[in-house]
C-alpha cells in the first residue's frame, strides 16, 4: 500500500484505504477521545451540575422566602382580626357599661325624687298637723272669746272653757267629716 502513495497517482483506487492513514486516524482519534474524556467532559458536566444546582438552590430559596412571607402575612392578618375583635368587644362593653350607668342614674334619680316627694309629703303633713293643732287652740280661744262676748258670760274657768271647746270641736269634726272633708284635703 505504501508504494501506492508514491506510485503513479492515477493507479490508486480511492476506495482502497492506505494502511498508514488508518493507523494514523486510530492514533489521533484515540488521543482526542481520551483527552476529551479526561479534560473536557468532566468540566462541562461539572459546570452543568453547578448551574442546575444554582438554579434549583435559587428556586428553593425563593420558595422558602415566599412561604416565610405568606406566614408573616397570615400572622399579621390574624393579629389584625384579633385587634378588630378586641375593639368590638371593648365597644360592646362600653355600651353595656354606659347603659348600666344610665339605668343606675335613672334609678337613683327616681329614688331621690321619691325620697324628696316623700319628704315633702311628711313635711306637709307635719305642717298641716301643726296648723291643725294651732288652729284648734286658736279657734278655741277665738270662739270662746266670741261666744263670751255674745253670751256675756265669762268663761274664765279654764276647765269649763276647755270642756266647752272640746265638745264644740268634736261636734264640728263630726259633721265636718261629711261637709268640710274636701276643704281639709
Amino acid at each position: 500500500m505504501n508504494t501506492a502513495i508514491q506510485a503513479a497517482e492515477e493507479a490508486h483506487n480511492p476506495l482502497v484505504p492506505v494502511v498508514s492513514e488508518i493507523v494514523l486516524a486510530l492514533i489521533v482519534f484515540a488521543i482526542l477521545f481520551f483527552a476529551i474524556k479526561k479534560f473536557v467532559v468532566p468540566n462541562f458536566e461539572k459546570t452543568f451540575a453547578e448551574r442546575t444546582q444554582a438554579i434549583e438552590g435559587g428556586l428553593s430559596a425563593a420558595e422558602s422566602k415566599q412561604a416565610e412571607a405568606d406566614a408573616k402575612l397570615a400572622e399579621l392578618e390574624k393579629q389584625l382580626a384579633d385587634a378588630r375583635h378586641e375593639a368590638a368587644r371593648i365597644r360592646e362593653e362600653a355600651r353595656e357599661q354606659g347603659a348600666q350607668i344610665v339605668s343606675e342614674m335613672r334609678e337613683s334619680a327616681q329614688a331621690e325624687a321619691t325620697r324628696i316627694v316623700e319628704h315633702g309629703k311628711t313635711q306637709i303633713e307635719a305642717e298641716r298637723q301643726q296648723a291643725v293643732t294651732s288652729l284648734r287652740a286658736e279657734v278655741g280661744t277665738l270662739a270662746t272669746g266670741l261666744a263670751g262676748r255674745i253670751v256675756g258670760e265669762s268663761l274664765d274657768d279654764e276647765a269649763r272653757q276647755s270642756r266647752v271647746v272640746e265638745r264644740f270641736l268634736a261636734e264640728l269634726e263630726s259633721d265636718g267629716s261629711t261637709t268640710t272633708g274636701s276643704g281639709v284635703n
Partner: protein
C-alpha cells in the same frame, strides 16, 4: 460545442492542457519525509484537527463559569447539542453519559475535518481519504456491538439484533440472515461510504468548478469565458451547499452511531 472534458480519464483535453479533476486529485504528494515515510497534507490536517479541537474544548470548558462567556457558551452549545440531542434522546437517559465522550469526540473530529474543505489554503476534507473514515466506522461498530453484548450477552445480543419481535415460524429463515446482514455487516460499510462519498464528491465538485472555470476563462474564447464566469458562480453556490453537507455528515455519522447504541441497549425493538 466542440469543447468537452473527459472526467473519467483524468487526461488532457484537446484545448490548452486542461487537467480535469479525478480520483488522482486526492493523491497528494508527501509534504516531507520522515525517514522513508512520506507525510502528506491530509495526515497533517488530521493531526491539526485534534490540536484545534482540544484547544477549543479545553479552553471552553476550563473556566467553568455559571454565567458563561462567549467561548464557554459556544463550547457548551456544541457539547450540549451532542449530549442532549444526539446521545440522550437516542440512547436513553440511563446509560447515555457513558457514550457522550465518544460521541462528542466523534462529532467534533468529523466536523472539523470536514470543514477543512472550504477553508482557504487548507481546502481538503480529510475524510475524502477513505483510510481516515474506516477506523471511525469500525470503532462505532465495536462500540455498539460491544454495548449490545454487554447488555444482552453474546447470544442474547445476536438474537436481539437478528430476530424481530413478533415474528415466528419459517419466515425467520429468511429474516434472520437479512437482519444479520443489515444490522451487523452492512452498517460499518454504509457509515464509511456515506461520509467518504460525500466528502469525496464535494471536493471533486469544487475542484471541477474552480479549475474548469479557470480553464474556460483563460481559453481566449469570449463565449467560453462567459461560461467560465458562470462556472465560478456555481462553484460559490456549491461551496455553500458543501458547508451544509459537511455539517450534515458529521451530524448523521454521530446520530447513526448513537442510534445503533440505543438500539443495542433497547429491551425490545
Amino acid at each position: 460545442m466542440s469543447f468537452h472534458v473527459s472526467l473519467s480519464e483524468g487526461g488532457e483535453s484537446a484545448e490548452g492542457g486542461f487537467h480535469a479533476p479525478g480520483p488522482g486529485s486526492f493523491e497528494l504528494p508527501p509534504v516531507f519525509h520522515v525517514a522513508d515515510f512520506g507525510v502528506t497534507k491530509p495526515m497533517l490536517l488530521l493531526i491539526l484537527s485534534a490540536v484545534l479541537i482540544l484547544a477549543f474544548t479545553i479552553a471552553a470548558s476550563g473556566k467553568r463559569q455559571l454565567v458563561p462567556g462567549r467561548l464557554q457558551f459556544a463550547g457548551e452549545a456544541v457539547y450540549g447539542f451532542v449530549r442532549n440531542t444526539l446521545a440522550r434522546d437516542n440512547i436513553g437517559s440511563e446509560h447515555y453519559m457513558k457514550f457522550v465522550p465518544y460521541l462528542f469526540s466523534l462529532f467534533m473530529f468529523i466536523l472539523v475535518n470536514n470543514y477543512y474543505g472550504i477553508i482557504p489554503f487548507l481546502q481538503f476534507s480529510s475524510f475524502s481519504r477513505i483510510g481516515f473514515v474506516i477506523p471511525l466506522a469500525i470503532i462505532s461498530w465495536f462500540v455498539y456491538i460491544g454495548t449490545g453484548v454487554w447488555k444482552h450477552g453474546l447470544f442474547g445480543y445476536l438474537k436481539h439484533a437478528t430476530m424481530p419481535s413478533g415474528v415466528s415460524g419459517p419466515i425467520l429463515l429468511l429474516l434472520v440472515p437479512l437482519e444479520f446482514f443489515s444490522n451487523i455487516l452492512v452498517r460499518p460499510v454504509t457509515l464509511t461510504l456515506r461520509l467518504f462519498g460525500n466528502m469525496f464528491a464535494g471536493h471533486l465538485l469544487l475542484i471541477l468548478f474552480a479549475t474548469g472555470g479557470a480553464a474556460l476563462l483563460t481559453s481566449g474564447n469570449l463565449l467560453y469565458g462567459g461560461v467560465g464566469i458562470l462556472s465560478f458562480a456555481l462553484g460559490i453556490g456549491v461551496s455553500f451547499l458543501e458547508m451544509l453537507v459537511m455539517f450534515l455528515q458529521a451530524y448523521v455519522f454521530t446520530l447513526l452511531s448513537s442510534m445503533y447504541i440505543g438500539e443495542a441497549l433497547a429491551d425490545e425493538h
